[in-house]
């Protein structure tokens, strides 16, 4: 479409600049004797990082945790996406919203909420189970690898859902029809045709979740640490927090193994989806997917989806609301209900810093997601449609800062920005956010791009449309489901972004998550929950806005049919 080498080069320069700078700083730091990015050369940090006797156990835990979370998130997302896009289940619009709610909740709050529900001593669900079945054994101990996978998988569910659902709804229905014509049942069609054709989206979602959970800190620290289960990110934390002179060089040295793992995964993904033509599904014919009539299965399935959504997603949110009404956290009781008040809400809404951070986060969410999506459109185009070595490089670059564990990458950005005039400004946050979370835009857009047959674009060129005109009138409208997904993922991520913000935000540039972290550090769970619910509310507004705008710009009814 464009002059391909130039476009690829330009993007490599932009993305490389965004993501390489902090990573180079971290590399320098990991080879420096001192702990402030530059200093005398040493390899001692690598030696001490990788000769740690605990390292093998930690790697094993990390693999179980990340792969488990990816399986959990992807399977659940597949199920929900299938039900929501391809069947005539009633009340689908509710389940669509529910599927993306965890994305809007600060991770630390969601984890804390599950602790209240499922801790083995007095978790609400465990208590209920114990009194119902008159047993002394807890139903489920959240402080375990299982618990970590449960919560992390749910937190990453929206990522998986937003990648899989657009692909599912843009599916060329004739493929399924031909399978059914051949005599295959609905089930057989699902496993032999639908899922294999969706392979790029499924793989993309699994890989993104693995990479994300590798960098995740909230679940490992809130749930893993009390269960004495350490994964890579908490291992790094343990290394930097023992002693006051936190050694981020050492942290970077450990973090490099996460980076290596992520880049390997990306290459595996590229290899597995190498023949992107095989997966092209939007062409002009049979675009609109037909809905599968559930008939007798309708209401049982509704009950299953309903219970699943309620227990997994709504219940933790309800718990948050419950906490926000209490002066301190306690299990539900008559006394708890008598103590309820709006005080936490009033405190939060009267706090000038909370309000400022609300404003800043909103700005970062809207502007950052918009810019990030624009950049992602070009990058995904190069990655999907120009499959050269250079585009592979671009794809890896886009994942660089994303795959570094959060507590480390923030410091990398600090080491970088402090050398620019942008240090301590909202712009620094904006650039850092886009650089780090670029894959949130690129992944859904790539899987959307893969499905657009290139002749749709070529015919526009032959009809006299310039590349830019083609982009505007043909590609973007066809990409709308992917664009909406990417924008929503980025916007809600930016609204609750913590790892970079906690390092880069300064008085005047406070953001929501930093304010939330302060409340958490001070143990003010009531205010924390109130602010968290405000965040969920704002994110929901943005999501609805995106869906409505997306619908307006495209006649493809995908996001909210």
């Amino acid at each position: 479409m464009f002059k391909k080498p130039t476009l690829t080069t330009t993007l490599i320069i932009i993305v490389g600049f965004l993501t390489l700078c902090p990573v180079i700083m971290l590399l320098l730091g990991s080879f420096s004797k001192d702990f402030v990015s530059f200093g005398q050369f040493t390899t001692s940090k690598y030696v001490s990082a990788y000769t740690d006797p605990d390292f093998a156990d930690i790697l094993l835990n990390t693999v179980i945790f990340t792969v488990g979370s990816a399986l959990h998130a992807t399977l659940l997302a597949l199920f929900l996406a299938y039900v929501n896009t391809r069947t005539d289940l009633p009340f689908k619009f509710i389940f669509k919203i529910i599927s993306i709610i965890p994305m809007m909740i600060p991770h630390i709050l969601f984890s804390a909420s599950w602790v209240l529900l499922l801790n083995p001593s007095n978790g609400i669900l465990n208590r209920l189970f114990m009194s119902l079945f008159e047993t002394r054994d807890a139903l489920f101990n959240v402080y375990s690898l299982k618990g970590m996978i449960l919560v992390e998988g749910l937190l990453d569910l929206p990522i998986a859902y937003l990648i899989i659902a657009p692909a599912m709804s843009a599916f060329d229905v004739s493929l399924e029809e031909s399978s059914k014509v051949c005599g295959a049942s609905n089930w057989r069609t699902l496993f032999k045709v639908t899922l294999p054709v969706l392979r790029p989206a499924i793989l993309a979602s699994a890989i993104l979740v693995i990479v994300r959970s590798l960098a995740s800190f909230a679940v490992p620290s809130v749930i893993g640490m009390p269960g004495r289960i350490y994964v890579l990110s908490t291992h790094i934390y343990r290394n930097i927090s023992s002693g006051f002179a936190a050694d981020y060089g050492l942290a970077a040295a450990i973090g490099l193994s996460a980076l290596g793992a992520s880049i390997t995964l990306i290459y595996i993904y590229r290899y597995l989806t190498a023949e992107s033509g095989k997966f092209v599904t939007i062409s002009s014919r049979g675009f609109k997917p037909t809905l599968i009539k559930l008939q007798k299965g309708k209401y049982p399935l509704l009950v299953i989806v309903g219970i699943l959504s309620f227990v997994l997603i709504l219940l933790p949110v309800i718990v948050l609301f419950y906490i926000s009404m209490l002066p301190y956290s306690m299990p539900p009781s008559a006394r708890a209900f008598s103590l309820m008040s709006w005080n936490n809400w009033i405190d939060v809404l009267k706090d000038p810093i909370s309000l400022l951070s609300l404003k800043n986060s909103l700005f970062l969410g809207v502007v950052g997601a918009t810019l990030g999506t624009i950049l992602s459109i070009f990058v995904s185009y190069v990655i999907v449609k120009i499959r050269t070595t250079a585009s592979g490089l671009l794809e890896s670059l886009s994942f660089l800062s994303f795959s570094f564990p959060g507590i480390v990458i923030g410091v990398g950005f600090m080491w970088f920005f402090v050398r620019t005039p942008l240090y301590g400004t909202l712009t620094a946050l904006l650039i850092g956010y886009i650089a780090t979370y670029l894959p949130y835009g690129i992944r859904p857009l790539s899987s959307a791009f893969i499905q657009i047959h290139s002749t749709l674009e070529e015919s526009s060129r032959v009809c006299g449309g310039t590349p830019f005109y083609t982009l505007r009138r043909v590609i973007i409208p066809l990409l709308i489901p992917g664009i909406v997904s990417g924008w929503i993922l980025m916007a809600s991520m930016f609204l609750r972004e913590l790892t970079l913000s906690v390092v880069l935000s300064r008085p005047g540039t406070e953001v929501l998550a930093v304010q939330i972290l302060r409340f958490a550090e001070d143990g003010l769970w009531g205010r924390l929950s109130a602010l968290g619910i405000i965040m969920i509310f704002i994110s929901s507004l943005l999501v609805i806005l995106a869906a409505v705008l997306g619908k307006k710009f495209s006649k493809l009814e995908v996001v909210d049919r």
């Binding site: 801790n119 006051f244 002179a245 400004t425 005047g508």
Partner: protein
């Protein structure tokens, strides 16, 4: 296309340009301390010429941030506040400059001996329990009571393998001879470990499981009795409390040195320290000023010797062996 590019660049850079215009005649405090908004507000109300702003940086990132900014010539702090070991390291790097405040006149000698760093408070640690769920007769009277098997699976504490202040606190107990000799201390440590405490990342999350009743008792801080009121928290009346000291100093290249000095003078004054004790529950060194927590005015609160990072790592490894069996 070109218009688009200009527009996008504008969007990116605008907030940056706007915020550089800010930040004049302000006193910037770098610290990590809970809920000090009332003190900042009081400072801003009393000293109309200066406006205090609070840059909160978590302890694990404090040194990295300050040194990075300092080496790039971008340290915006006028006043730096933090645990004593951190300020010592900053002093060695030349980040701090000597300043003696007259407000600290009544402080103990050990707190004001240094020409640069003034210590003004102790982050005191104590056994904290849920007063609704623990019967009065069960409340520990000594540290050793925490090793009673009745607390098995009922304890919470910051991770003694990694959390620096907790490691220091355990060493403080040893060096203060709370248990007589080292053998007694080791018995305490092993007894505590045998009760399988639940570990959290730092003191911040330590009171939550106690107030919710998930655990009954924990190694935490009495100040939460104030900041988390009306949560049913109380502290076990052991006879000696220990804590690392809080300290502050003037930045060597303070953008606003006079403001910084004024801020330190104000902060160390009895008025500000009273606020810190009343609103935040902190243990301060101003004579006669105590937090409004029952019994704190009578208990002995002693500062823990400053441990080097090597020592902390060494003991962290030791405690890992004991607690993670």
């Amino acid at each position: 296309m070109k218009k688009m590019v200009v527009l996008l660049l504008g969007l990116i850079l605008l907030p940056g340009l706007l915020s550089t215009a800010l930040a004049a005649d302000k006193v910037n405090l770098y610290a990590n301390i809970t809920a000090i908004e009332p003190i900042m507000a009081d400072f801003n109300a009393g000293q109309s010429a200066q406006e205090g702003i609070y840059t909160r940086i978590s302890t694990s990132k404090y040194l990295a941030t300050v040194l990075t900014e300092f080496s790039a010539g971008k340290l915006q702090a006028d006043v730096l506040q933090g645990p004593l070991p951190i300020l010592q390291m900053l002093k060695e790097k030349g980040v701090l400059t000597p300043y003696k405040s007259s407000s600290a006149s009544g402080y103990p000698d050990w707190a004001t001996g240094d020409d640069t760093i003034i210590q003004f408070g102790i982050e005191y640690v104590a056994p904290i329990y849920n007063k609704e769920l623990v019967k009065p007769e069960d409340v520990p009277k000594t540290y050793m009571d925490l090793t009673d098997p009745k607390w098995y699976d009922k304890l919470v504490m910051p991770d003694p393998a990694s959390h620096a202040t907790t490691i220091s606190w355990l060493i403080g107990l040893k060096e203060a001879k709370i248990f007589g000799d080292d053998a007694g201390w080791m018995k305490f440590v092993k007894g505590l470990a045998a009760n399988k405490p639940m570990f959290v990342k730092s003191f911040g999350p330590s009171p939550a499981p106690i107030e919710s009743g998930e655990k009954l008792i924990g190694i935490s801080m009495p100040k939460y009795i104030i900041t988390k009121a009306p949560a049913p928290l109380d502290w076990a009346r052991v006879d000696t409390l220990l804590g690392t000291t809080r300290a502050m100093a003037l930045a060597a290249k303070a953008p606003n040195p006079n403001g910084g000095k004024a801020f330190i003078d104000y902060w160390l004054s009895a008025q500000a320290m009273q606020l810190l004790a009343d609103k935040v529950g902190e243990y301060v060194l101003t004579p006669g000023v105590f937090p409004p927590i029952d019994g704190v005015d009578k208990v002995k609160v002693i500062p823990i010797r400053q441990l080097s990072d090597e020592e902390i790592r060494h003991w962290g490894d030791e405690f890992q062996k004991i607690f993670y069996q």
